[in-house]
């Protein structure tokens, strides 16, 4: 694997990165109340008395959120803790109605796990998961609607979150980016989080430190809060690492601090130093009993687990004959993988993969469509490939047929039938065209016979042209040579 090393005139530096990712749990209602989790409603519509922190209101745990967390834990190849506890994290903020967050502290629901990420040089790397816990989200403060007032929207307050904490295993921006894409792919496969970083349903805090290359020490880190795209995460790591190196090389010191990443500049600025860090006064949440999961419960969820991207990729390689690269591309997105599998069933999988990754994705991009909205169905793409395999149409004609499919959504068999695009494989018919071409081009025939054998290609082209592209090129090729060589 290629190493990511910051080299300056003074030395070489290695980058150490850990991530904390907040994933909004997909569930109909909030984690501790029955209010809806719908995104984009009018402000303060989806707020129960519990979410608003009214006197005497009590949290009750949403079982669906627990289920989603266990599923995700299994997807991270992690240990599911049969005993976990909720804790209160105390701090005052206007969009936190109870002025404490119910989270998990000493006993999280998910323990250590591991994810394999694929890197651009073809290598892969295992990234350790430290833990994952579940907690409630805060509301939103809106400060820019009025010069003297702040507005508060509690729709998001109480939505379930999974906080995934990695080990400090990343050594480059690329690894962190690959991990985030992989994590997003896994939670989307599982349907436990929609993974939309731009909508805030997946948010990332980035911890960065550097150390002299070859050293094993761990130096103070800075934490950048809420970096909300894969690109920004990679940029934040790159720039923050450079900032550390610069400070060290100028004889300075880095102190543990929290920073705010600015996506417009790619730089971060200081939020608070360690000495101003909050004392959250965590203690066990007395309103909720410990969460105890049975073996049967966990096994039940295991039994319902769907095939995840790594397993699917492996299957596409071994049983469908795809290259690792093709398999990885198709498996990153569950819908793509499923579309592919549907299209490839009973047909030449490798050809289907080629079609998907070239003309098909190009068409979706051009039309700005999701795969679910594709005018070309999986079945029809499979049929198209089958028409080529069975030499009913040529690859060239197939591109034209695909164009029509993309416009009309029609069945390729129907298009080929109606437009009369079937490849002519009837040697008699082809021979007749060849005879015509030979008869009307005596000069080229004699040139061929005098050694200009590459003229055979010209004859083939003429024949196919006269057949309006329908003559099977293989047959034409063979017959043209036979006749010219006679």
């Amino acid at each position: 694997m290629s190493e990511y090393i910051i080299t300056t005139s003074k030395g070489k530096w290695e980058v150490i990165v850990g991530l904390e990712i907040h994933c909004q749990i997909i569930s109909k209602s909030k984690i501790f109340s029955s209010a809806s989790t719908e995104f984009g409603d009018d402000p303060n519509v989806n707020v129960s008395f519990v979410d608003a922190g009214m006197p005497g209101m009590l949290p009750t745990l949403n079982k669906e959120c627990v289920r989603q967390a266990v599923k995700t834990g299994l997807g991270l190849n992690a240990k599911i803790n049969k005993y976990s506890e909720f804790s209160r994290k105390n701090y005052f903020y206007a969009d936190m109605p109870t002025d404490y967050q119910i989270t998990q502290f000493r006993y999280p629901i998910v323990g250590e796990g591991e994810i394999t990420v694929d890197l651009s040089d073809g290598s892969s790397k295992k990234i350790g998961i430290e833990r994952m816990h579940i907690e409630q989200d805060a509301g939103k403060s809106i400060h820019d609607l009025n010069p003297t007032k702040s507005y508060i929207d509690l729709n998001r307050a109480g939505v379930g979150l999974m906080e995934i904490v990695t080990k400090p295993d990343f050594r480059s921006p690329e690894e962190a980016g690959a991990f985030l894409r992989k994590l997003r792919s896994i939670v989307r496969y599982l349907g436990t989080c929609d993974g939309n970083m731009d909508e805030g349903s997946m948010r990332c805090d980035v911890n960065v430190s550097v150390r002299p290359y070859g050293s094993t020490e761990l130096r103070p880190r800075s934490e950048m809060k809420n970096v909300n795209s894969v690109k920004f995460v990679m940029q934040a790591i790159e720039n923050e690492a450079k900032r550390h190196v610069e400070i060290y090389e100028n004889g300075g010191k880095i102190e543990q601090e929290t920073r705010q990443f600015d996506p417009t500049t790619g730089q971060s600025k200081l939020m608070r130093k360690k000495e101003f860090a909050h004392d959250y006064r965590y203690f066990p949440e007395p309103d909720l009993p410990p969460l105890v999961l049975s073996d049967e419960y966990i096994e039940g969820i295991k039994a319902e687990m769907i095939e995840l991207p790594d397993a699917k990729k492996q299957r596409f390689i071994t049983t469908m004959g795809l290259t690792p690269y093709d398999a990885a591309v198709l498996c990153e997105n569950k819908e793509h993988a499923e579309f592919f599998e549907k299209a490839a069933t009973g047909h030449d999988a490798k050809k289907v993969a080629n079609w998907m990754m070239s003309d098909f994705f190009a068409m979706l991009n051009k039309k700005r469509l999701d795969i679910a909205q594709s005018p070309v169905s999986a079945e029809n793409l499979g049929k198209l490939v089958e028409l080529i395999s069975k030499e009913v149409i040529s690859g060239k004609i197939a591109k034209d047929v695909f164009e029509i499919m993309a416009q009309t959504g029609e069945d390729p068999e129907k298009i080929v039938e109606e437009k009369g695009l079937k490849q002519v494989t009837d040697t008699g018919a082809i021979e007749k065209i060849i005879d015509d071409v030979i008869a009307s081009n005596p000069d080229n025939v004699s040139a061929y016979k005098n050694g200009k054998t590459n003229l055979a290609g010209w004859f083939v082209g003429q024949v196919i042209k006269l057949s309006q592209g329908k003559a099977n090129p293989g047959i034409v090729n063979k017959l043209v040579r036979e006749k010219l060589d006679k």
């Binding site: 008395f49 608003a52 922190g53 009214m54 006197p55 005497g56 209101m57 009590l58 949290p59 009750t60 745990l61 209160r88 105390n90 005052f92 206007a94 109605p97 109870t98 002025d99 404490y100 702040s150 508060i152 004392d279 006064r281 965590y282 203690f283 007395p286 309103d287 909720l288 009993p289």
Partner: protein
């Protein structure tokens, strides 16, 4: 005929069933008596209009024969229970304009059984206190007061005073460290703190979530049985409520104490225990012994740590539970604040009284980084040991008998209590262990001091064994022949 406001709940129910008077008449009588006795300061909010509506509905039901378990019985509600559309203050300035849009489960249960709510009863601010003196709405006067006004005990001081002075037929209370039992003892009436999880905490303004429990305060044991039956029950809105069937507590009153073993913890008889208290304690034991119960000395070895444990854990939870009173969404907000931090600081400084602020500070301190292990964690461990003490004791006895309080009601504004809050906290010495262990405990009057003030006896039961407490309490009540106000 006697004043109908002096009937017990069971007597009033019988009379209503026999149409001797209507709920409207009964309710009007209470409302008049409340009006004539405002000097006690028992009520923070009187809800005469809704009470009269509820009474009319009750009368219709009696006429139609569809009357429910508490149909038409006028109750007072501790102002810690959220009551829909009726102001709920927790006796705090910070909530003095708060009108809940929802009903607590316990009060809803009472309404579902046909109860009439006369109003909201005074208490110590956020139930923090043992004398009802920390209320933003002023102290409650104990109806037993003679030459100078005495405290009714706390925190359910308004509930106990109102029941003793017949300003309601019975009342709800809550008990975090003795807040039902101590005022019941001081006011010469009965009260039970049920097992933790027996009554839903949903809609009760939280003080210390792992200790808070609702219960009835009433004139006699039977009334407590009737009310608790109505108040108790599993509630899926409270994750700490228990799915245990609620028995007919009244039926236990017919039980026999012969064959029961009554434990008397030696640690509850320290040197210097008030001889009057010790004498009544022994007398109570003799009553039960005479009925065939076995009296046994038991040991609860960690008793001496209970107060310290309680005064770490309860403030810790309170400091977090009371964080939400921040002036942002409801309740009092200090006017004219420009910055969020100022809004918090000034709202909470002005909105909370001194005792609440003291407990928030203690609680914040014991949860702070660097102090958590020394205070909170250690207290949690001690809580477990105190719980285990009781479980071990219950291997050799069925019920534990102790005094409810080492003292009788004291004067409002008592110097030693006000100067040193620890002296006030010491009054909880016999009651807090029960909350730490989550057990049910009864307090009923046993007799008067030389000065003519009531003493209470406490009966502590096994988890969810309130039934045995009702059995034993009924016998003690019969033998003590205590004369209520």
């Amino acid at each position: 005929m006697t004043d109908i406001t002096e009937l017990t709940v069971s007597e009033a129910l019988n009379a209503l069933k026999k149409h001797e008077f209507t709920s409207t008449e009964l309710t009007e009588a209470y409302l008049r008596r409340m009006e004539d006795n405002r000097q006690y300061n028992a009520y923070i909010t009187e809800s005469a209009d809704t009470a009269m509506e509820q009474a009319k509905e009750a009368d219709k039901r009696y006429a139609a024969g569809t009357n429910r378990a508490l149909e038409g019985i006028p109750l007072g509600i501790k102002d810690l229970f959220c009551t829909k559309n009726i102001r709920t203050t927790a006796a705090s300035h910070i909530l003095d304009n708060f009108i809940p849009p929802y009903e607590s489960t316990v009060t809803q249960n009472l309404l579902n059984d046909g109860a009439v709510f006369l109003g909201k009863l005074n208490l110590d601010e956020f139930a923090m206190g043992g004398s009802n003196e920390t209320s933003y709405f002023g102290p409650v006067i104990n109806p037993w007061s003679k030459d100078k006004p005495l405290v009714p005990g706390g925190s359910s001081g308004g509930s106990a005073a109102a029941v003793a002075a017949h300003l309601c037929a019975a009342a709800t209370g809550t008990d975090t460290g003795g807040s039902i039992r101590e005022p019941a003892a001081f006011c010469g009436i009965t009260g039970i703190k049920p097992t933790y999880g027996r009554c839903s905490r949903y809609g009760i303004v939280a003080f210390a979530s792992s200790l808070d429990q609702a219960g009835p305060i009433a004139q006699d044991v039977r009334d407590c049985a009737i009310l608790l039956k109505s108040m108790a029950g599993f509630d899926d809105k409270d994750s700490t409520s228990c799915e245990v069937p609620v028995p007919d507590y009244e039926s236990f009153m017919n039980g026999d104490v012969a064959g029961l073993t009554i434990g008397m913890p030696k640690e509850y008889r320290p040197e210097g225990l008030n001889p009057e208290v010790a004498a009544y304690w022994d007398k109570a034991a003799e009553y039960l012994k005479a009925r065939g119960a076995k009296i046994k000395e038991i040991s609860l070895p960690h008793t001496k740590y209970a107060l310290a444990t309680y005064y770490v854990l309860a403030p810790a939870e309170a400091s977090s539970n009371l964080a939400r009173y921040d002036g942002i969404r409801y309740g009092f907000r200090a006017p004219g604040q420009q910055h969020l931090d100022d809004l918090y600081i000034n709202t909470r400084t002005q909105g909370f009284g001194a005792e609440v602020r003291r407990r928030i500070m203690i609680g914040t301190y014991v949860l702070s980084a660097g102090y958590y292990d020394a205070y909170f964690l250690k207290a949690q461990k001690m809580r477990r040991l105190i719980h285990d003490d009781f479980m071990n004791a219950f291997k050799e006895c069925d019920v534990i008998l102790t005094p409810t309080s080492p003292i009788t009601a004291f004067p409002i504004g008592d110097e030693s209590m006000l100067q040193n809050p620890i002296n006030m906290y010491l009054n909880d010495v016999f009651t807090v262990s029960v909350n730490l262990a989550g057990l049910p405990a009864f307090s009923l009057p046993i007799g008067l001091s030389a000065e003519g003030l009531p003493y209470g006896m406490q009966l502590i039961g096994k988890p969810f064994d309130e039934g045995t407490l009702f059995n034993v309490a009924a016998k003690l009540e019969a033998d003590a022949k205590f004369e209520r106000k």
